[in-house]
Subunit: 125 residues, 2 copies
DNA sequence: GGCTTGTATTGACGTTCATTGATGCAACCT
DNA sequence: AGGTTGCATCAATGAACGTCAATACAAGCC
Protein backbone atom coordinates (compact mmCIF):
# COMPACT_ATOMS: atom_id res chain seq x y z
CA UNK A 1 0.00 0.00 0.00
CA UNK A 2 2.83 2.35 0.72
CA UNK A 3 4.33 3.29 -2.59
CA UNK A 4 6.57 6.31 -2.86
CA UNK A 5 7.49 8.17 0.27
CA UNK A 6 10.20 10.69 0.93
CA UNK A 7 13.24 9.28 2.62
CA UNK A 8 14.51 12.45 4.26
CA UNK A 9 12.44 11.78 7.31
CA UNK A 10 13.28 8.12 7.45
CA UNK A 11 14.59 6.12 10.37
CA UNK A 12 18.37 6.35 10.10
CA UNK A 13 20.27 9.46 11.03
CA UNK A 14 22.92 10.20 8.45
CA UNK A 15 21.65 13.43 6.99
CA UNK A 16 20.09 16.50 8.57
CA UNK A 17 19.62 16.34 12.29
CA UNK A 18 19.08 18.45 15.40
CA UNK A 19 18.70 22.11 14.61
CA UNK A 20 19.97 21.66 11.10
CA UNK A 21 18.10 24.71 9.91
CA UNK A 22 20.18 27.04 12.05
CA UNK A 23 23.37 25.03 11.86
CA UNK A 24 24.40 25.51 8.28
CA UNK A 25 22.88 26.79 5.04
CA UNK A 26 20.92 24.13 3.21
CA UNK A 27 22.02 23.12 -0.22
CA UNK A 28 19.49 23.11 -3.02
CA UNK A 29 18.72 19.40 -2.84
CA UNK A 30 18.14 19.35 0.91
CA UNK A 31 15.97 22.43 0.61
CA UNK A 32 13.93 20.93 -2.20
CA UNK A 33 13.31 17.71 -0.31
CA UNK A 34 12.36 19.41 2.93
CA UNK A 35 10.18 21.92 1.14
CA UNK A 36 8.00 19.07 -0.09
CA UNK A 37 7.31 18.02 3.48
CA UNK A 38 6.53 21.52 4.70
CA UNK A 39 4.40 22.12 1.64
CA UNK A 40 2.41 19.04 2.53
CA UNK A 41 1.73 20.60 5.92
CA UNK A 42 0.99 23.98 4.38
CA UNK A 43 -2.68 23.38 3.83
CA UNK A 44 -5.42 23.72 6.46
CA UNK A 45 -7.21 20.58 5.35
CA UNK A 46 -4.06 18.48 5.49
CA UNK A 47 -3.12 19.92 8.88
CA UNK A 48 -6.53 18.99 10.24
CA UNK A 49 -6.20 15.53 8.74
CA UNK A 50 -2.80 15.14 10.37
CA UNK A 51 -4.09 16.21 13.77
CA UNK A 52 -7.18 14.04 13.47
CA UNK A 53 -5.00 11.04 12.74
CA UNK A 54 -2.21 11.86 15.19
CA UNK A 55 -4.49 12.58 18.12
CA UNK A 56 -6.44 9.40 17.65
CA UNK A 57 -6.44 6.88 20.45
CA UNK A 58 -4.75 3.82 18.98
CA UNK A 59 -3.10 5.90 16.31
CA UNK A 60 -5.24 4.68 13.44
CA UNK A 61 -8.18 6.25 11.71
CA UNK A 62 -10.46 4.91 9.02
CA UNK A 63 -10.99 7.17 6.03
CA UNK A 64 -14.70 6.80 6.60
CA UNK A 65 -14.24 8.80 9.80
CA UNK A 66 -12.14 11.51 8.19
CA UNK A 67 -14.19 12.36 5.13
CA UNK A 68 -17.43 13.44 6.86
CA UNK A 69 -15.49 15.87 9.07
CA UNK A 70 -14.98 18.20 6.11
CA UNK A 71 -17.21 20.12 3.74
CA UNK A 72 -15.28 18.60 0.89
CA UNK A 73 -15.87 15.84 -1.58
CA UNK A 74 -14.47 12.39 -0.96
CA UNK A 75 -11.97 12.61 -3.84
CA UNK A 76 -10.54 15.77 -2.35
CA UNK A 77 -9.88 14.13 1.00
CA UNK A 78 -8.37 11.15 -0.77
CA UNK A 79 -6.11 13.52 -2.69
CA UNK A 80 -4.88 15.24 0.46
CA UNK A 81 -4.21 11.94 2.17
CA UNK A 82 -2.16 10.89 -0.83
CA UNK A 83 -0.04 14.04 -0.62
CA UNK A 84 0.59 13.49 3.09
CA UNK A 85 1.60 9.93 2.37
CA UNK A 86 3.94 10.95 -0.43
CA UNK A 87 5.54 13.41 1.97
CA UNK A 88 6.34 10.51 4.28
CA UNK A 89 4.18 11.86 7.08
CA UNK A 90 1.57 9.13 7.20
CA UNK A 91 1.04 5.61 5.95
CA UNK A 92 -1.99 3.46 5.36
CA UNK A 93 -3.20 -0.10 5.04
CA UNK A 94 -6.31 -1.66 3.60
CA UNK A 95 -8.14 -3.87 6.07
CA UNK A 96 -11.10 -5.50 4.44
CA UNK A 97 -13.42 -2.86 3.12
CA UNK A 98 -11.79 0.03 4.93
CA UNK A 99 -8.46 1.83 4.69
CA UNK A 100 -6.75 2.94 7.87
CA UNK A 101 -4.22 5.76 8.16
CA UNK A 102 -1.65 6.48 10.86
CA UNK A 103 1.09 9.04 11.32
CA UNK A 104 4.79 8.22 11.18
CA UNK A 105 6.04 9.69 14.48
CA UNK A 106 9.69 9.62 13.47
CA UNK A 107 8.91 11.93 10.57
CA UNK A 108 7.31 14.48 12.85
CA UNK A 109 10.11 14.21 15.39
CA UNK A 110 12.73 14.74 12.74
CA UNK A 111 10.92 17.76 11.41
CA UNK A 112 10.67 19.14 14.93
CA UNK A 113 14.34 18.50 15.51
CA UNK A 114 15.19 20.19 12.28
CA UNK A 115 13.33 23.33 13.29
CA UNK A 116 14.38 23.55 16.92
CA UNK A 117 16.94 26.27 17.44
CA UNK A 118 20.09 24.83 19.02
CA UNK A 119 21.15 26.24 22.41
CA UNK A 120 24.29 27.79 20.98
CA UNK A 121 22.32 30.02 18.65
CA UNK A 122 19.88 31.12 21.33
CA UNK A 123 22.48 33.28 23.10
CA UNK A 124 22.72 35.73 20.24
CA UNK A 125 18.99 36.22 20.01
CA UNK B 1 9.58 47.89 9.67
CA UNK B 2 7.67 44.95 10.96
CA UNK B 3 4.13 45.35 9.75
CA UNK B 4 1.83 42.38 9.85
CA UNK B 5 3.04 39.16 11.34
CA UNK B 6 1.18 36.13 12.47
CA UNK B 7 0.64 35.98 16.18
CA UNK B 8 0.26 32.24 16.53
CA UNK B 9 3.94 31.86 17.04
CA UNK B 10 4.24 34.84 19.34
CA UNK B 11 5.81 34.99 22.76
CA UNK B 12 3.03 34.16 25.17
CA UNK B 13 1.78 30.64 25.62
CA UNK B 14 -1.97 30.60 25.82
CA UNK B 15 -2.83 28.72 22.67
CA UNK B 16 -1.33 25.67 21.04
CA UNK B 17 1.66 24.20 22.81
CA UNK B 18 3.77 21.10 23.13
CA UNK B 19 2.71 18.34 20.79
CA UNK B 20 -0.53 20.06 19.98
CA UNK B 21 -0.73 18.34 16.62
CA UNK B 22 -1.12 14.94 18.22
CA UNK B 23 -3.01 16.13 21.28
CA UNK B 24 -6.35 17.11 19.81
CA UNK B 25 -7.84 17.76 16.39
CA UNK B 26 -7.24 21.31 15.19
CA UNK B 27 -10.21 23.51 14.54
CA UNK B 28 -10.45 25.29 11.22
CA UNK B 29 -9.02 28.58 12.45
CA UNK B 30 -5.99 27.04 14.12
CA UNK B 31 -5.36 24.94 11.03
CA UNK B 32 -5.64 27.93 8.72
CA UNK B 33 -3.21 30.00 10.78
CA UNK B 34 -0.66 27.25 11.12
CA UNK B 35 -0.95 26.32 7.47
CA UNK B 36 0.26 29.79 6.55
CA UNK B 37 3.45 29.24 8.49
CA UNK B 38 4.13 25.80 7.04
CA UNK B 39 3.28 27.09 3.59
CA UNK B 40 5.90 29.79 4.07
CA UNK B 41 8.43 27.04 4.73
CA UNK B 42 7.16 24.94 1.85
CA UNK B 43 9.40 26.48 -0.77
CA UNK B 44 13.05 25.57 -1.38
CA UNK B 45 14.13 29.16 -1.83
CA UNK B 46 12.50 30.27 1.39
CA UNK B 47 13.95 27.31 3.26
CA UNK B 48 17.40 28.20 2.05
CA UNK B 49 16.84 31.82 3.01
CA UNK B 50 15.76 30.72 6.48
CA UNK B 51 18.80 28.54 6.95
CA UNK B 52 21.13 31.19 5.60
CA UNK B 53 19.75 33.69 8.08
CA UNK B 54 19.42 31.31 11.02
CA UNK B 55 22.88 29.84 10.69
CA UNK B 56 24.51 33.23 10.49
CA UNK B 57 27.01 34.17 13.18
CA UNK B 58 25.44 37.12 14.93
CA UNK B 59 21.99 36.20 13.72
CA UNK B 60 21.69 38.98 11.17
CA UNK B 61 22.16 39.00 7.43
CA UNK B 62 22.07 41.84 4.96
CA UNK B 63 19.85 41.32 1.93
CA UNK B 64 22.84 42.17 -0.20
CA UNK B 65 24.39 38.89 0.98
CA UNK B 66 21.30 36.81 0.34
CA UNK B 67 20.36 37.87 -3.15
CA UNK B 68 23.57 36.83 -4.98
CA UNK B 69 23.31 33.33 -3.49
CA UNK B 70 20.42 32.51 -5.81
CA UNK B 71 19.88 32.39 -9.52
CA UNK B 72 16.86 34.57 -9.05
CA UNK B 73 16.07 38.21 -9.55
CA UNK B 74 16.26 40.64 -6.67
CA UNK B 75 12.47 41.24 -6.61
CA UNK B 76 11.90 37.51 -6.24
CA UNK B 77 14.15 37.28 -3.19
CA UNK B 78 12.47 40.33 -1.74
CA UNK B 79 9.12 38.69 -2.29
CA UNK B 80 10.16 35.51 -0.47
CA UNK B 81 11.57 37.48 2.43
CA UNK B 82 8.28 39.31 2.70
CA UNK B 83 6.36 36.04 2.90
CA UNK B 84 8.65 34.73 5.62
CA UNK B 85 8.17 37.94 7.53
CA UNK B 86 4.40 37.83 7.18
CA UNK B 87 4.51 34.28 8.51
CA UNK B 88 6.18 35.58 11.64
CA UNK B 89 9.35 33.60 11.05
CA UNK B 90 11.77 36.47 10.52
CA UNK B 91 11.95 40.19 11.05
CA UNK B 92 14.02 42.97 9.56
CA UNK B 93 15.33 46.46 10.12
CA UNK B 94 16.67 49.11 7.84
CA UNK B 95 20.10 50.34 8.87
CA UNK B 96 21.22 53.10 6.62
CA UNK B 97 21.29 51.87 3.08
CA UNK B 98 20.96 48.21 3.92
CA UNK B 99 18.22 46.03 5.37
CA UNK B 100 19.12 43.28 7.82
CA UNK B 101 17.04 40.18 8.50
CA UNK B 102 17.07 37.80 11.46
CA UNK B 103 15.01 34.80 12.48
CA UNK B 104 12.56 34.82 15.37
CA UNK B 105 13.74 31.79 17.39
CA UNK B 106 10.56 31.55 19.44
CA UNK B 107 8.59 31.02 16.25
CA UNK B 108 10.77 28.11 15.23
CA UNK B 109 10.72 26.62 18.71
CA UNK B 110 6.95 26.84 18.86
CA UNK B 111 6.63 25.16 15.50
CA UNK B 112 9.00 22.43 16.64
CA UNK B 113 7.02 21.99 19.85
CA UNK B 114 3.84 21.78 17.90
CA UNK B 115 5.17 18.98 15.73
CA UNK B 116 6.97 16.94 18.37
CA UNK B 117 5.05 13.82 19.22
CA UNK B 118 4.30 13.71 22.96
CA UNK B 119 5.66 10.75 24.95
CA UNK B 120 2.19 9.41 25.65
CA UNK B 121 1.46 8.93 21.99
CA UNK B 122 4.76 7.25 21.25
CA UNK B 123 3.81 4.08 23.08
CA UNK B 124 1.10 3.20 20.62
CA UNK B 125 3.39 3.55 17.62
C1' DG C 1 19.91 69.74 -6.52
C1' DG C 2 21.09 65.42 -9.37
C1' DC C 3 23.39 60.65 -9.50
C1' DT C 4 24.15 56.05 -7.81
C1' DT C 5 23.24 51.98 -5.00
C1' DG C 6 20.18 48.96 -2.20
C1' DT C 7 15.59 47.30 -1.49
C1' DA C 8 10.48 47.06 -2.01
C1' DT C 9 6.32 47.23 -4.90
C1' DT C 10 3.60 46.66 -9.12
C1' DG C 11 1.72 44.22 -13.05
C1' DA C 12 1.90 40.46 -16.06
C1' DC C 13 2.66 35.65 -17.40
C1' DG C 14 3.18 30.63 -17.01
C1' DT C 15 2.85 26.92 -13.81
C1' DT C 16 1.20 24.53 -9.98
C1' DC C 17 -2.48 23.43 -6.83
C1' DA C 18 -7.22 22.54 -4.71
C1' DT C 19 -11.52 21.06 -5.96
C1' DT C 20 -15.13 18.59 -8.34
C1' DG C 21 -18.06 15.02 -11.04
C1' DA C 22 -17.46 10.92 -13.32
C1' DT C 23 -15.43 6.68 -13.33
C1' DG C 24 -12.79 2.58 -11.79
C1' DC C 25 -11.40 -0.87 -8.52
C1' DA C 26 -11.72 -3.74 -4.27
C1' DA C 27 -14.26 -6.07 -0.85
C1' DC C 28 -18.41 -7.45 1.31
C1' DC C 29 -23.32 -9.31 1.09
C1' DT C 30 -27.29 -12.00 -0.63
C1' DA D 1 -23.46 -13.56 -10.46
C1' DG D 2 -25.40 -9.07 -9.35
C1' DG D 3 -25.69 -5.20 -6.19
C1' DT D 4 -23.81 -2.16 -2.71
C1' DT D 5 -20.37 0.35 -0.11
C1' DG D 6 -15.61 2.34 0.62
C1' DC D 7 -11.84 4.42 -1.49
C1' DA D 8 -8.71 5.78 -5.38
C1' DT D 9 -7.89 7.66 -9.97
C1' DC D 10 -8.94 10.64 -14.01
C1' DA D 11 -9.93 14.88 -16.49
C1' DA D 12 -11.26 19.55 -16.26
C1' DT D 13 -11.57 24.16 -14.21
C1' DG D 14 -10.59 28.20 -11.46
C1' DA D 15 -7.57 30.07 -7.99
C1' DA D 16 -3.10 30.63 -5.98
C1' DC D 17 1.84 30.75 -6.54
C1' DG D 18 6.72 31.76 -8.32
C1' DT D 19 9.04 34.52 -11.37
C1' DC D 20 10.47 38.53 -13.94
C1' DA D 21 10.92 43.39 -16.07
C1' DA D 22 9.70 47.79 -14.98
C1' DT D 23 9.12 51.03 -11.64
C1' DA D 24 9.12 53.31 -7.14
C1' DC D 25 11.17 54.38 -2.78
C1' DA D 26 15.07 55.25 0.58
C1' DA D 27 19.64 56.62 1.71
C1' DG D 28 24.20 57.95 0.79
C1' DC D 29 27.42 60.75 -2.24
C1' DC D 30 28.91 64.35 -5.59
Amino acid sequence: MSKQELKILGQDGDGACCGALATAPLDEEQAADLAKVFKALGDPVRLRLMSMIASREGGEVCVCELTPAFDLSQPTISHHLKLLRQAGLIDCERRGTWVYYWVLPTALDRLAGFLAVPQAAKASA
